[in-house]
Symmetry: D2
Subunit: 401 residues, 4 copies
């Protein structure tokens, strides 16, 4: 296993870190966009657009996409960590979910027409996209449950279904949804679903509301509930072909989980830094909090857990780069369990170290917690991923499960 | 140890439970008040006032106060649990914090004038009050740090200081603050502070903002930051006398912690019930979630932890009733550590069982979590209470700490 | 719920505590019997026999048995805790497992003849008995798996089967086994098994070996593997009647679990006391261990966990006394999970506080750990008891499991 | 970071694995030596000596020592894991502690004479050695407490002191102790101690007893208590020079902790394999244990924790190889906390999965647990290593501790 970063990656690391230090972190308060429940009123902070231009001009753009940046998963991982340090940074580098995953799908599986219509403007950061998979009425953790339907009608496909947790759908620039739906209930279990490109301005696409996460709407992105009522799109909008939804999803999820997890490692590092500073500065009972060894234990454990979690993500990135997503199935699930749990724990401990301030918005911790907590559910809950990991162990010894 | 409830208490249990089942739980959505950051716009839901009248008419009023209800701490404990089941119930019975603690203080230590001016309308539920202790600039977990000042000036006291986490201060009916401040820095360590009654409409009382808890403002109550700038009140507004602030605080905290903890037990029971129902109804991979024994383990552990936590609170109530707050010092700290942690854990597990819905507001879980999480900090963080418990063990063997 | 102890119980508490303080604890080293693997060489420490006579003379004898002592489960619980403080104390008061459970069975279900032959000498402490249930070849946690057989042959029963973890079978005075076996595989699931009295000197009873627990043989009691090869006993040796084995087992287990758990609470208290003393006395980096707040946190948590565990056992005892074992099914399983886990954790933490000395035999901690660890398995592992607790929750809401 | 193994290392991995599979694992029962408390009666199993010859003949000898094997720490790490799979394997490859550490010290710091007298026969596996540091009377976790004394007397050094946990001292071939003692109490804190070579047959060396670990004596090695009473050795027996004890200890501990931790990873892998097989084969309530998802969760978590722990050790090995022990100070402490805790947890869970058999000696689990548990104490307890890790974090931000 070799986690060494290429020379190119090392240059990017220095540049992205510098960009963050100079242009992002000091201005987080100004860059932050506070939107309320009424998502139709959300606007874009023009400073973000300026920073996007600046990042693009410096070549710090679309770094997540190997065909654009020439970076492997192992190379990109530390960049995702650096960007993850601030919740608003990834978009500045056009490296934010779910656009990243959607661009990967289009780049890998899209037709020439699909690419020129959707991938181009996404790569330019001109539009944004969403991924519509999770449904309120079924346990979407078992993706074969997905019930939203795709039926043929002449040379069109008719889309119906309720989706929620469609991240980014509240953004003023959101134009495209990738819809995962049931296209053939009689096919083999993993060939029943397809992915279809649906313009968000198509007739019958109804954004019902934005879902809060611990009372925040994550504006101007948002997590939407959206209903598709007899939405009609040309057959050419299908990706790769009918029944190939899961095949695409598999390829999409590997790198996406690396990105999510490395961003979260960045979040956890930030919480640890805040905790360390607080413990050193805050005086109680006449001594700094560090004097109380229980706090030092928490800090030590946090360091160990972050470092181990990062190594596990790097190993997974390395496996994706060398043997592909199939060979890394257990590891991709492992990091999905480990990293959000580690992040939640450390952020929670930082909150505790800050006292009441920790649950307010006077620090970023409360929202960091909401973000990390959500990732114990998004893309499959811990429980499902543990099943994958356990099953791999049984298979190793050819044991029945 | 005897946790049997008096006949009177048993009657109240039945009545309060019935009131909750018939008048509160089915109407929670309508009773809920959604207030935003601009607390000056907050209003009172008239339905709450109607329910208050109804509860009072049924004698379900001020049950927390022994002199009014004739109930011991042991007797009142199960009532607090039943009320705690819904976040908006306690006020309906005039049993909500911090008014409960403030009424106890006035009832126990107030002069005749103080009582007729403030206790009377509080007991009638006509006004609301706040308790101003925690300060942003010092570790208030060590109460001897409190720096807000009370100085004499003729026959008046001049109040200065910044306070925050002043719960209830956003309520339209909030009229009174009990201010804990430093009155004599040269006195013995535990005789330096006093408590003073400050009308919220006094000149120099500036409510700066409401503090969110995981992005919610807990309207129409709110947790405020309030600055006292040369606020002048008559010397007669002091409670019990100069330098007796900690003495009062001690007496106030024992029953208050029983109340907080039993309400939280109610919250935890609710989360457990939700989890059990979800596990039975939700189907994943062709089976209800209960089929997966990991979920059954979570449910079993939750039941054990709630039951043990409740027993510990009842024991503490029994000790307060029989040997008083001094003899129950360790136990009062024990429940303050145990119950919020148990509640946080179980609510978090319920969130996980609900998937994405759990972090949204489609269930009450996200706000239940914020409430329980805050109680790991309010009234002293876990860490301080563990110190108290450990010190008691060392003292038991006359060992140095 | 009323945990008050009767006047009689309070007298016993004082007397047993005094007996322990004066006659047992100071002489533990002398009373300890170190036996090796060769159980046939085990002897009885005559000092134990002297102490038995002394305890009996003071009326501190058979206190566990309501018909003898007049004590309820609630009354007996604190006595079991006091005796549990030292591993060798219970026998001195004729209150040791499994004789206690066996005496209960004989007293409750035995015929006049069975009582005079076996119960009498057991109550006199003249002989010892074992309970043969667990089998090496099946998951005995599911008792319906028990495969050892009981077949009729004329006026005799023929016993066959392999049993292990037959506690006490190495003792020189062990004379009787109660054998649980399959008597009718065609009967309803819970009527297939019977209990039969088998004299250990019967032909065909072969004690194969003693099983170590973390390398110790628990001499002179031992945990034996014993094979029954065509052992013949008169039909009158059956208890209560054919097919009633589980019915008897149910009645036996309730009080037995109270005893086990309260003894373990005594063990945990002892570990906590050792830890507190060590933390106060041991100097590292120029300060006593108590200075390091991580240790104080451990001590505080231990106190809370012991106190909660004890309350849960007392509640369970109270339920057994008032509504019987059926109504307390969940609670009997709850304590069986909670108490051994709490004890293991605290003993382990005490070991850590003692450093290398903790894993050696220079303290009692290593053997205390082995004892507590075994009780996470004996009488059903944690996992099975959690299932019982979870199922009770589902039934509460009439939900399917 | 690059964990790739050199071609040479890969060849060794294959060879050592094959040796283990063919010559060690199938014969563990025969190779096992069961010694009792009377260490003077311990003998050597001749089969072990044969296997040593065989391993040496195959070049699988002294692989831990870079100057002999040409392997880096990163290269050697997987070999230590493979050897760690069986408790009796390391000696067969002459790679067992504490001889490894002692040989490193002699190789690195020994004079020509010291090498020819002691290193040579150690490298040949002809004699064995011990390291005498820990003392019963002081908290040796703070090594500056070490009180055993080294005083000059003419051209000799006089050694006095009580040591314990001197591993390997019961072995019939044990001939040499490296003694760490106080040579100059007036020197700077880290220059007060020296290391001296003491032949075990020197007059005044009194081996008092062997210390059990959970009742086992780890024969024929043993962990001894040894008293040095005016033992006289020539001044030339000092290593490196007076006052340089800690300097040597530092260099010794880095690789030693890699070895310990990788061996433990091997132990944990073995426990996981046992658990997986048991869960698949054992039937309870009509289903294999794997059916109960709680068990699958345990297995999944074990896989994640082992993999993360291994990565952290590999990272530490890589740091030792590239920037040396000073730069890896935090990591060396991190693995010392993480790995033994992970191993203890997984072995304990395997014990639980095996039921009563798990605490007996019918599996290796009970002794694996004792070994892993001891490593939470040996070479510094968790608590001290967490301090090191926390302090590194504070230093990172130039914060006061």
């Amino acid at each position: 296993m070799n986690f060494d970063h290429s020379t190119k990656a090392q240059e990017y690391i220095a540049k992205v870190q510098n960009f963050m230090d100079v242009h992002v972190i000091p201005y987080e308060n100004e860059l932050w966009y506070e939107g309320n429940e009424d998502w139709t009123s959300w606007t874009i902070n023009p400073r973000i657009e300026e920073l996007k231009s600046m990042a693009r001009a410096q070549g710090l753009w679309n770094l997540f996409l190997p065909s654009e940046s020439g970076l492997s998963n192992t190379d990109y991982a530390p960049l995702a960590e650096i960007m993850g340090y601030s919740a608003l940074a990834s978009e500045i580098f056009n490296c934010n979910a779910p656009d990243t995953g959607n661009m990967e799908v289009l780049e890998k599986y899209g037709t020439h027409e699909q690419k020129s219509q959707w991938l181009e403007p996404l790569l330019n950061g001109e539009i944004r996209s969403v991924f519509c998979m999770t449904e309120p009425d079924v346990a979407s953790s078992d993706a074969t449950n997905i019930a939203g339907s795709i039926t043929e009608s002449g040379d069109h496909l008719i889309i119906n279904g309720k989706k929620w947790w469609s991240t980014g759908i509240g953004h003023p620039k959101a134009k495209l949804a990738i819809f995962l739906g049931l296209s053939d209930a009689t096919a083999a279990k993993h060939a029943q679903h397809s992915m279809v490109l649906v313009p968000l301005d198509a007739e019958g696409v109804h954004i019902k509301r934005m879902l809060p996460v611990f009372n925040t709407y994550d504006a101007p992105y948002g997590h939407g509930e959206v209903h598709f009522d007899n939405v009609s799109v040309p057959k050419s909008n299908i990706i790769l072909g009918p029944g190939r939804g899961f095949e695409i999803a598999q390829g999409r999820l590997g790198p996406g989980r690396i990105h999510h997890c490395m961003r979260l490692i960045g979040v956890a590092e930030r919480a640890l830094k805040m905790m360390v500073e607080r413990a050193s500065e805050r005086i109680a009972f006449g001594k700094p909090l560090t004097y109380f060894s229980g706090n030092a234990d928490i800090i030590a454990n946090a360091r160990m857990e972050i470092d181990m979690a990062r190594l596990l993500v790097l190993k997974t990135a390395y496996l994706l780069d060398t043997i592909g997503v199939k060979g890394a199935k257990s590891e991709v699930s492992q990091i999905k369990v480990v990293v959000p749990n580690v992040a939640c724990k450390i952020i929670d401990q930082a909150i505790q170290m800050f006292g009441g301030m920790g649950v307010s918005n006077d620090t970023l911790l409360a929202n960091m917690y909401g973000y990390a907590r959500t990732l114990r559910l998004a893309d499959g809950p811990d429980e499902v991923h543990r099943m994958v990991v356990a099953n791999t162990e049984f298979k190793k010894y050819n044991l029945k499960i």
